[in-house]
Amino acid sequence: MSNDDIRNTGIVPVIENLTNMLRELTADLSPLLDCQAANQPAEHIKEKMASMDSKMQRLLHSINHSYDLIQLVIKSIHTSRSELKKSVDGLIKKTGMQLQKVTSTTEEATNKILDVAEKLDEDQMSIIEILDSIQEDNCTAEKSADLFDELRQKIYQNQESAFTIMDYLQFQDITAQQIAGAYSLLSDTEKTLLYVSEMLKRFDANFDMSEDMTEAVDKKAFNMDATYKDKATIQSAIDNLFESRDENIDIPEEAAQNANGDVHYQASGSEAPADAFSSDDIDALFGSQPANDQSSQDDIDKLFSNTADSDEEKKPEENANKKEKNGEEKREETSQEEIDKLFG
């Protein structure tokens, strides 16, 4: 049985094959141990021994292959553990932080809307009081005119409050993008789990798992870094940028943004990594091991050629991701004032 046969059949058939070979050898050995064997001609016994020797050679060969396979299984489990650890430490942690952003954005917007709603309620009450006083008191024409002016003022204020609430409702678009970001991270986690699953199922011939994944995420459809912060300073810098069209204008970073977390995936737009983990990452993880372990990683990559191919396709995104992780492509926030200068 070749290495490829072993890989294709899975670990259980290999062990079964070993068991059968040992059983055959035992069956061959039994008559020789029987006292009747003594009556057999020496030539016959010699033939039997030669046959057994050949079988034992094959058995040894199979055991060696089994050893290789078990090594691969151990390596795969090791890699799987690393992948899962990265998922937990990176993606899941980042997803949690992303959802935290949604909570704080919702809370901030709700409080702002509540403030305006409370003010609206107060103003409505004062409008009723003014109306009551017009009705109850015998107002002079001059006093009535003042009260009507006051009423008009209050009504305009309330209209403005209604508009303000409308403006604050922009938080819905921002939280929708933040949630899309969280979904994207969960989707990356799912990819990692499927990768691990794919890696392990190759050793089990009977393993059958649905290949269905959740719907693909269109990463250009959202900006995971969307925030509900007051953008006045940033807008001011953007304005400067658009006014002057000077690309060297200094743009302030949005302080709260990207401040947390040790793993940052730029999921906004097309620059988002489609796959957070590559075989290069895995190699790096095993980098401290002896050289022969590195070639074993190649064996694993060859073994999972499908995965290796897809990893190859994703190389540019991975490289972008790595650069970002290394801080080579630090992206700065820009204020509206600076944008305005740039656009003139």
Binding site: L169, Q177, A221, I251, G269, I339, L342
Partner: protein, 125 residues
């Protein structure tokens, strides 16, 4: 002011409604909407007279940047004023938008005053 016909392109119905309301508050009444760059192009081709575009960046199918590039590379619509309204506030993104041909740029969440000043700035150029 009244001869302006706007096209709002945003995948979020809420944002389209908010931008629509803001424009109406500023006195503009003639407003069309599309939910991504591709349907925005369809609207431009099928509805005559659109002469001002307000577009988001992050959208499915065709995002705002691709939309701007498509408009700028077309003969018919190349000169249309485009105001981008987006959550993206990273300098590289803004410069990319500017190079693509965006006339002005607003970061969400925005105020009606900001919207007004950017429309005025584009119209007065």
């Amino acid at each position: 002011m009244s001869n302006l016909k706007f096209l709002i392109v945003d995948d979020s119905p809420t944002m389209r409604r908010i931008v629509n309301n803001t424009l109406k508050r500023l006195g503009y009444r003639d407003i069309e909407e599309a939910d991504n760059g591709s349907s925005g192009m369809d609207k431009l081709r099928s509805i005559p007279g659109i002469n001002f575009i307000v577009t988001d960046w992050n959208m499915p199918v065709m995002d705002g940047l691709q939309f701007v590039q498509t408009i700028r590379s077309s003969q018919e619509f190349a000169k249309l004023p485009i105001l981008m309204v987006t959550t993206r506030s990273v300098k590289d993104d803004i410069i990319e938008a500017m190079k693509a041909g965006v006339n002005n740029y607003i970061v969400k969440p925005f105020t009606p005053e900001t919207m007004k000043s950017k429309i005025d700035a584009i119209l007065n150029k």
